[in-house]
Amino acid sequence: MTRTPPGLVSPLDVGAASAAPLSRDSRLAAEIKALVAGGDRGAACERYGELVAHQQRRAVRIAYQYLRDAHDADEAVQDAFVKVFTHITSYREDLPFEVWFTRILVNACLDLRKARSRRLRWSAPLTPAHDAKPIDPVARDQSPEQRLVSQERAAEIAAALETLPGRQRTVFTLCHVAEQSTAEVSHALGVSEATVRVHLFRAVHRLRRLLERNA
């Protein structure tokens, strides 16, 4: 019997997601698994580079949304990708790779959050987002006034997201940043779809209340 390493989701847990047609990345992951099983690690690494490139942008968005720190997000994403390759032989080819990877990434983020809270307990507080550049989520052709308003709005949204409880925040992030369906999120988090919907519903209610109050 194979044991699923800590931080990884067992392939048996995500069985319900097999109905969907396999994505390009799922097929690629299956190919990498076969290469590793065949002992061709060099070729597997090369193919894995492609998979990383496909998933990287989405991964950093999720991790940054979750951790709100670029260095931590960087580290979490790197850890997740390395862990996925190390345990690629436990990947089930008939399941969406994105769900499996998301679960591993979320666990890596949770581990980092725990580590960060332990670290902050023993260190002097830094100014928040000391490495962060000002967020400019708006088009460059906007006027300075419009850009300022958009930046303020972005700051409000970030602050509102920050107030969400952990599970609501995770569900909201996966649904609206990672653009996953509630079914995929339920598989990634190992909870029922009804639970995901409840968390998402509450999160949206809360965000709406906060943002409308500020508007």
């Binding site: 670029a70 790197q78 708006v138 998402l200 519903f201 949206v204």
Partner: protein, 201 residues
């Protein structure tokens, strides 16, 4: 709000999970207020997604993603490689020490070291010997200090105080000189009342 309007909860539900029913759709088409609420909610959700993505993208430009990609692959290649085993230098201590210096040079070094030791010892002994022998130089060495004259309050010449560093002979002679001075006259009655040491039994 009339019962036909969609509640806030229902509006969130239809925006997030389910499509609207036929009756709700009819209501949304006929009720500008509910339609506007639905649009606002949709905009808020889109706004949050766009804002979150933009915040992450600002932190992770393409160059940073490329560096991260390279790091991940480098780590995978490093992890896959078996660890290098460096041979422990066993038996190295048992090997005979082979000196690369010429024997005559070693003798010169040894003689120089011995000479240094003898010189240090001799110097030390000479110094100790000189300490045991009292010399005039040692007594006179403190002569630099000049006596300081202490004047009385009425302007009369006072006692000449001596520095603590002067020799015994100088000190006694200065005492004699002081006792002969005018200032000592005031002490004469006291001196007469005080018994001398040899009178005390």
């Amino acid at each position: 709000m009339t019962p036909h309007h969609l509640s806030d909860d229902r509006l969130v539900e239809v925006s997030l999970f389910y499509g609207v029913s036929a009756s709700e759709q009819r209501h949304l088409e006929s009720c500008p207020e509910c339609a506007a609420r639905r649009v606002r909610l949709r905009e808020m959700l889109d706004d949050m997604s766009a804002s979150s993505e933009a915040a992450a993208d600002a932190q992770f430009p393409a160059s940073r993603l490329a560096r991260q990609h390279a790091r991940i692959l480098a780590q995978l290649q490093h992890d896959g490689r078996p660890a290098r085993i460096i041979a422990f230098p066993a038996g190295h201590a048992q090997e005979p020490l082979v000196s690369r210096t010429h024997p005559s040079r070693r003798w010169i070094a040894a003689a120089a070291a011995a000479g240094l030791v003898v010189g240090v010892l001799a110097g030390r002994l000479g110094y100790d010997h000189s300490l045991l022998r009292p010399t005039a130089g040692r007594v006179v060495a403190t002569r630099a200090a000049e006596p300081v004259e202490i004047r009385a309050a009425d302007g009369a010449p006072g006692l000449r105080a001596v520095s603590a560093t002067i020799s015994d002979e100088e000190f006694l002679s200065q005492l004699e000189f002081a006792s002969d001075g005018l200032a000592a006259a005031a002490l004469q009655p006291l001196d007469e009342l005080t018994p001398l040491p040899w009178e005390v039994r």
